[in-house]
């Protein structure tokens, strides 16, 4: 489904991705591991079409990112911190996003909000959410359209212990539905429980890809 070929990205003199080669299939969860600054987030950005490579290419269903398509056609991401507009309710946020692709119905929106453990009828603005609630809101944003590709950067940050288990169940369900999930995390348990394959990165390179 996704082919990363010799992906290289420089920022100034800093090589943040060094000739990365990877293959991703649907219906699997890939765990990304590595020290701070290893390039995990950068790799996710490159796959999402948010940055342009200096050399190499990324193909999504045989279409090259930034050339044939600007962004993957069916994508959900959680990379940034401020994932939703703070001055609207979560439901309103998702409704606004839903207008762009017109895939998600109101039922799908409510369902996603319930699945992340929030209340679709909550009248509070996202600004008034706690940190963990904001993170849950961001996860709802990434999954509500049932995308084929889901990129998650440290998705269980700030989420309580029970919540982490609930979120893992969500990711597992998304995988069973057939989505390809790439998940960067510093939580070894997240990776061990969820990932079908673990990819280890260091200084912009992938060092191994093991079962």
């Amino acid at each position: 489904m996704i082919k990363v070929e010799q992906a290289t990205k420089k920022i100034g003199n800093n090589i943040v991705l060094k000739a990365v080669n990877l293959d991703f299939q649907e219906g699997k969860i890939y765990g990304l591991r590595g020290r701070n600054g290893a390039g995990k987030t950068m790799l996710l950005r490159a796959i999402a079409g948010l940055i342009r490579l200096d050399s190499g290419r990324i193909l999504i269903n045989n279409q090259q990112i930034k050339k044939e398509i600007s962004f993957p056609k069916s994508l959900g991401i959680l990379i940034e911190n401020n994932n939703v507009l703070p001055d609207f309710t979560l439901k309103k946020n998702l409704q606004l996003l839903a207008k762009i692709k017109k895939i998600a119905t109101d039922e799908m929106i409510d369902d996603a909000i319930l699945r992340v453990g929030l209340n679709p009828n909550d009248k509070r603005k996202v600004r008034q959410f706690s940190l963990g609630m904001k993170q849950r809101a961001a996860i709802a944003q990434a999954i509500f359209e049932k995308p084929d590709l889901i990129l998650l950067d440290e998705p269980t940050n700030a989420i309580d212990v029970e919540g982490v288990r609930e979120m893992r169940k969500i990711f597992d369900n998304e995988k069973r539905r057939g989505a390809c999930i790439i998940l960067a995390s510093h939580n070894p348990e997240d990776l061990n429980v969820l990932a079908d394959e673990i990819i280890v990165m260091t200084e912009g390179s992938v060092i191994n890809e093991k079962q």
Partner: protein
């Protein structure tokens, strides 16, 4: 925040237009060859003010919640066009509300040609500002726009050939077409640059 900015800018526009206008000529079109430096700088302030409302409208695409809109849009040009028209709507809103208040206060309405010229000028400068903010930060964009408009203010009388771009009163049709053409060129360039831009996002 944005609402108060809007009100402040309209107030400034009304005041400066009031100071600058002569008889039945709007402040924007005072073209006195002997105008003093004070007049030129005041004119610069008048023309600049509405565009300041655009600060941050392009930078915000680095923010996670806007990135989430961006990657969902398969046609990037649609976002570019809608952003441009929303921005233009706000800028022209400020200018036209300013003119309306001015007309109520002084009875000076300006001619239809004048107003159409202003629309043309701001169509052009809105695209200029957007491209500057895309290429540089919002701070540098504001400074470069101000530098550009200051040059226009000081050299206005010598640059009358440029028509709407220098807010000239008597603009012929070919000058208007030129302005329109340049605006479209700038926005096409904007689209190309947006497609090549790296989004690292903002946050911690």
């Amino acid at each position: 925040m944005k609402k108060s900015a809007f009100i402040c800018i309209v107030t400034v526009v009304v005041m400066l237009n009031f100071l600058l206008q002569k008889n039945d000529t709007l402040g924007y079109f005072v073209e006195d060859a002997t105008s003093s430096l004070v007049v030129k700088v005041t004119w610069f302030g008048l023309v600049c003010a509405p565009l300041l409302y655009l600060v941050g409208t392009i930078d915000k695409w680095q923010n996670g919640s806007y990135l989430n809109q961006l990657f969902r849009t398969d046609k990037l040009h649609r976002i570019v066009i809608s952003t441009y028209f929303i921005n233009l709507f706000h800028v022209l809103g400020i200018v036209l509300i300013g003119l309306l208040i001015n007309a109520l206060l002084t009875g000076n309405t300006g001619s239809i040609e004048n107003i159409l010229n202003l629309v043309g000028s701001y169509m052009f400068y809105t695209s200029v500002y957007m491209v500057l903010e895309l290429l540089f930060s919002s701070t540098s964009a504001v400074l470069s726009l101000c530098a550009l408009l200051l040059i226009v203010a000081l050299g206005k009388n010598n640059l009358s050939l440029l028509g709407s771009i220098t807010f000239h009163r008597n603009t012929s049709i070919y000058q208007t077409i030129l302005t329109l053409f340049m605006t479209i060129t700038i926005m096409t360039f904007f689209l190309k640059k947006l497609n090549q831009k790296d989004f690292y996002g903002k946050g911690i």
